[in-house]
Amino acid sequence: MQFLEQFFGNLGVHCSRAVAPECRHWGIQHLRAVAPRCIPAVLLVFLALVGVMPAAAQQYEYERPVSAAPTPEDIGEGYAIPQVQFHPPRAQWREALDVGVLLVGLGLTALVVLKWRSRWALVLIVIGSLVYFGFYRQGCICSIGAIQNVVATLADPQAVLSWYVIAFFFLPLIAALFFGRVFCGGVCPLGAAQELILVRPMIVPRLLDQVLSWGKWVYLGLAIYFAARPAAERDFIICRFDPFVGFFRLSGPLDIMLLGAGLLLLGMFIGRPYCRWLCPYGALLSLCSRLSWRNVTITPDKELDCGLCAEACPYGAIRDLRADLATCVACARCYDKCPRHRVQRTGGQAPAGDAP
């Protein structure tokens, strides 16, 4: 009753101005008497309710039907609870395969550059590395980023490192002690992207090149500093600012993608801007390469100072007609342009028009 009264009271407010003052305080006993005068309003409300009701009725009043999971006996018919989906982590043999590909890549690059001196064969290796380490492995595992993992593990007694990352950090360095920066030349996918995009190499003024190349030491220092901090404050800046990994994954933060696009655009005219001026692993490799056992050599026997090799080197790694072991990234462009080498390649016949 109370409810009805209230309801019609509310209704009364609606029709109060238009109809009658008694509508305002309807008692249920007055209902019959005053109803006819309020009919339009009641009709309106009724229509509105009819309009709204179907939608309200369709709203599912959800309530959980069970209080516990049914047992296989409840379900019956010999039902067995299925296995929950589970996928084990990446298999060890795949990690071993990655290390194997790295070793083969380093070995092949050394063979192709130092022994065969073949540019086109190197380009094949570079494409292979770009596909495998770049697009297939999506830029992870990466020797450059491994610097920070190694430093973090050395600084933090709790941190551990898998043999996989250890291998990717040390093998290219050891290879550089023997054959120079074959990792940069043939295996590194970041180097590969820049190597392949270099269409119109321009020579960078020596002084500018030298000043800019300090950048990689600064970057290395920052990387070590941020990796050596306590776990909560550790910041993997090499991974965070990796300019090309977004292209391998076809997604990434906009600012880093723009940085990468800028470097690639620059890299069309200036040889490997990231490797030469920014790459912290390149800094470590250049130290090892300086001490290398075998490396790229320019005309060691008979002197022929045509200088075509120096002009062909987009990285400024040939100084006074000798390869600068620290900066040479074993790209074999110099051999490709060497007239004597061409003569050897074409079976002792000098090319008709002669080089360049």
């Binding site: 018919e77 609870i81 929950v84 551990v160 994954r249």
Partner: protein, 195 residues
């Protein structure tokens, strides 16, 4: 001439020595790390922190950062149904959008999963005239799921039995040093587990 040769050899000896020393240093460092080596920790989602999973967080919008922030084109996160907890409801609040209109079969007309990744099939002894009292298995198609967490949020006490959870597919996860999901997780639930 002899002097020249001698200088040459001395230089070579020095070179060998420097190379040997560096090799020893690198080898020492590597063997120290190898001795310390072990399985590295992996990224995982803490169910007590994640808003989609933690008990009590109901009636809020599901957080989809696991689906949107992963560096992979399709996230390495998947929803998983723990079958021993699942109530096998006739109308599952994670499979159906229970706020949608009822269709002619008396079931909600819309699915909750935006990718339609949850399959529903009757199990056990099926009474075709009383579908409401049958049990239903809800199977997540991992090829469709991207870990948006809507179903996980929906199947939570009191609406569901919290049988759904989000997991990291470790065969897909690139194990980034700097996980981009962890950077933006609002509950700090995405963390690196010690192995």
């Amino acid at each position: 001439m002899a002097d020249e040769q001698q200088r040459h050899t001395r230089r070579e000896v020095l070179g060998h020595a420097a190379r040997g020393a560096t090799l020893l240093g690198l080898g020492g460092l590597a063997s120290y790390l190898v001795l310390k080596a072990g399985p590295e920790g992996a990224w995982s989602i803490n169910a007590q922190k994640c808003v989609n999973m933690r008990p009590g967080a109901v009636g809020v919008e599901a957080c989809d950062r696991c689906a949107t922030q992963c560096v992979l084109a399709r996230s390495a996160i998947r929803a998983v149904n723990d079958y021993d907890k699942c109530g096998r409801c006739y109308i599952c609040p994670a499979h159906f959008d229970v706020s949608s209109a009822i269709d002619k079969n008396g079931l909600p007309s819309a699915k909750l999963c935006p990718r339609d990744a949850i399959e529903r099939k009757p199990i056990g002894w099926v009474d075709p005239y009383d579908p409401a009292n049958n049990f239903y298995e809800y199977i997540i198609d991992e090829e469709k799921c991207n870990g948006c967490g809507k179903c996980v949020m929906a199947c939570k006490e009191p609406a569901g039995l919290s049988s759904l959870r989000l997991t990291v597919r470790h065969d897909l996860c690139l194990d980034c040093n700097r996980c981009s999901i962890a950077q933006v997780c609002p509950d700090d639930a995405y963390q690196r587990d010690p192995a």
